[in-house]
Amino acid sequence: MVNFSMEKIKKSPYKYFALKCGIFFVIVFCLDFTIGNTLRYFYFKQQSGLEYRTTYSIEKTMAAVVVFGSSKANHHYQPNIFTRELNLSFYNAGRDGNFIFYHYAVLEGILKRYSPKIIILDFTRSEFSRDQNNYDRISALLPYYRTHKEMRNIIELKDPFEKIKLVSSIYPFNSLFLTIAAGNAQFNKTRMFDNKGYIPLMNEWLRSVATDTSSATYTIDSVTMNVYKSFIADCLRSKVSLYVICSPYFIKYAHTDSSIQLAQQIAKENGVPFLDYSENSTFIDNSKLFADPSHLNDNGAKIFSYMLADSIRKISNGKFP
């Protein structure tokens, strides 16, 4: 009977093709479902590494002071100093190469659980420029799409077809196979030392200060700027003291950056302090405080953290919400 039916199907090429495709897609679906869910299980079981820090920021931290930002945040804000100077618990939620989309999504995850007393947002030059990489790097948030509804609007900015791609169970864990394996292994805990999210850089940049004469004009991405505005609005709504900081560079810029100007203006309109240390003389005259032109080393980070904690204390008169 089955053979007879198969012969009939084989005679109609369209049906035969549909049958073959059907079988193939069932195999793909089964493999995708099994492997994807196994990866999901181990992803959230990680105990160390970059992804673990993201999960910790979104789902676990209860720190009173939380820092957001890219690699500059990661390497510039020393937790012990802030804890001691402000007498508040601290977590550095910065992540290399990620900008306002990532910060806003993580902020949403945090505000769903609790309101920190202080949030520090490290703002970088050209942050509002139209750059496809900023959208691509939303991929760091894909594992949270299924379980964190508050992040979906941001994740869907990545690509108009993102919703369809996320039908796959493996796709959110694309290229994370080895990272997940390492995050579940013991050796990884000591491999990359981090102190409450802060990663110190130990080398010294022994070169003279660079001068950047490149053009200051670029297209401002309104989506990025609106997400920055939402970041500020959500902090204010949750009664969080927000500080937007432009941390030091070892580069002298010939032109004022339009992103910084805009960010400063938006912050001012909302009554949010914007502190610009990008060309602060304590740092720009001392290459030994840098690990590279964009990042302070551990010594530089300590000095900068003291300086900033002191400013925050003065601005707030020692009173936090």
């Binding site: 492997i35 990489n133 959208y135 691509d136 080895l178």
Partner: protein, 474 residues
């Protein structure tokens, strides 16, 4: 619209479904409309440039066929000038102008000729060469002029090979637009499998390797010689998988609809000499240059010095075809020089590894390795952002110093495993063709599982966007 993008998947499904639904007499029209849409997805207005050369070449073909011998030559020249003219304006104008400015600068003069701020039309070099092959073949009497304007336009614009080849010949492609292609399940599946394999090469291998290569080649002065050697080897596989992956997808798309496009790559890194490499690498372009330039220059039926000069000319122009930059010209010249050197060595019996002939397998391996190293050396010039960077890289590489920069170990591990996977698959195809194969197994369950696993590997390890990156901290 890139082949590895989601919009293309949708476009492909719609066009292919319609292709097999409508009467075959109208399929050329569907393909032409689809090709126009595909081309216009980049910069719509550029369709006019393509339209201009199509009209010129269409009429040139007809008039060449009907004209007397002396007029035929004039018509061919008009057609070639139109094609090369468009190519020159869009691809080489700024390059020539820049070099002109440089020369004037030497005499303390300024160049009054302005630069053009235009984007290069996508696939211009490919479809220009394909169009030129048509008029040349009609001129040579090897091809009848195509009287159907729509079919001729489709020959130039056929969307699977419009952007990155293979550069087809009219004898192979034109007649296929008039053939009735049936809905043959096995052929369609063959095409889909070829597309999937191409997608794997592009997303899992080429784009993965590109992460490391770009990070290193964009800052060559900050890296050690060993890092640059590794990045160059990675680039050799990146460019191969990128280009051959794209060609596989193109051939697969065409195959699904019943068209047979020529093979463009034949496991080039298993070549045992530079001359063999060029018979395996970008075959459609190599044969184009051989048929229409090398032979026109006299080929090897001239004096020995002239023969060598012909080779050098062909390779320098081939370099220039790849891009308007001195780096490409040097790359082409280097390859030409390799070939000339090999011919001289053969002529004077300079066999550097003759002792190896006692051990044929070792001899073969050595020949493959030497060819690969020479190819990699030339790739430095192809990939470097400018000539000065290229020479910095060469200098640093010959110092053989320093540790290899491994900022992101997982990217490094994926890269190495993807290359090993490719070499395993290709070594089997090269040397053990008759043996068991997962992908070509007669057992449909094994074959299905193999291709399903390929999809899973793409989902697991493919690079879908710029989300993966290496942040080198120097």
């Amino acid at each position: 619209m890139l082949f590895d993008s989601f919009p293309f998947v949708i476009f492909f499904i719609i066009v292919t479904s319609l292709y097999f639904t409508i009467p075959y007499q109208w399929r050329w029209f569907l393909l032409l409309v689809a090709s126009c849409y595909f081309y216009m997805a980049f910069i719509p207005i550029y369709i006019l440039i393509l339209g201009f050369t199509i009209v010129i070449d269409y009429f040139a073909g007809i008039y060449i066929e009907d004209a007397t011998l002396s007029k035929r030559k004039i018509l061919l020249v008009i057609s070639l000038v139109a094609n090369i003219g468009v190519l020159s304006i869009f691809k080489y104008y700024n390059f020539l102008n820049y070099n002109f400015s440089y020369i004037l600068h030497g005499f303390d003069l300024t160049n009054p000729i302005p630069y053009l701020s235009i984007l290069l039309p996508i696939g211009l070099s490919f479809h220009t060469f394909q169009a030129m092959s048509y008029t040349i073949e009609v001129y040579r009497g090897n091809q009848k002029a195509e009287r159907h304007f729509g079919i001729y336009a489709l020959y130039v614009m056929f969307y699977p090979q419009l952007v990155a080849g293979p550069i087809e010949r009219p004898q192979n492609l034109l007649h296929q637009f008039r053939e009735k292609h049936m809905f043959e399940v096995e052929r369609i599946i063959d095409g889909l499998e070829l597309m999937l394999w191409g997608l794997f090469k592009k997303l899992v291998i080429a784009d993965r390797l590109a992460i490391y290569v770009n990070a290193v080649y964009n800052h060559p002065r900050e890296h050690t010689g060993m890092t640059l050697i590794l990045a160059t080897i990675f680039f050799a596989f990146q460019i191969y998988c990128d280009f051959s992956g794209y060609t596989d997808i193109a051939r697969g798309v065409a195959r699904v609809m019943g068209f047979k496009l020529m093979m463009n790559f034949n496991r080039p890194y298993f070549a045992r000499s530079i001359s063999e490499f060029w018979k395996r690498w970008h075959i459609s372009l190599s044969t184009w240059f051989k048929d229409y330039l090398y032979i026109s220059l006299g080929g090897n039926r001239v004096s020995v010095p002239r023969w060598y000069l012909n080779l050098l000319i062909v390779f320098i122009i081939s370099g220039l075809w790849h891009g308007a930059n001195w780096t490409f010209i040097i790359w082409g010249a280097l390859n030409g020089f390799y070939l000339v050197f090999a011919l001289i060595a053969e002529r004077y019996k300079l066999d550097v590894i003759s002792q190896m002939k006692k051990y044929p397998k070792l001899n073969r391996l050595m020949q493959i390795l030497i060819t690969f190293v020479l190819t990699c050396f030339a790739w430095i010039f192809f990939r470097a952002n400018n000539v000065s960077d290229a020479f910095v890289i060469v200098k640093k590489i010959f110092q053989f110093k320093g540790p290899i920069n491994i900022e992101n170990p997982s990217i490094m591990i994926y890269s190495i495993f993807s290359i090993l996977f490719l070499l395993l698959v290709e070594a089997r195809q090269e040397y053990y063709r008759g043996s068991f194969s997962f992908f070509n197994s007669q057992n449909w369950i094994i074959r299905n599982f193999s291709y399903a696993l390929l999809i899973i590997l793409i989902l697991l390890f493919g690079v879908f966007d710029g989300g993966q990156f290496i942040y080198f901290q120097f």
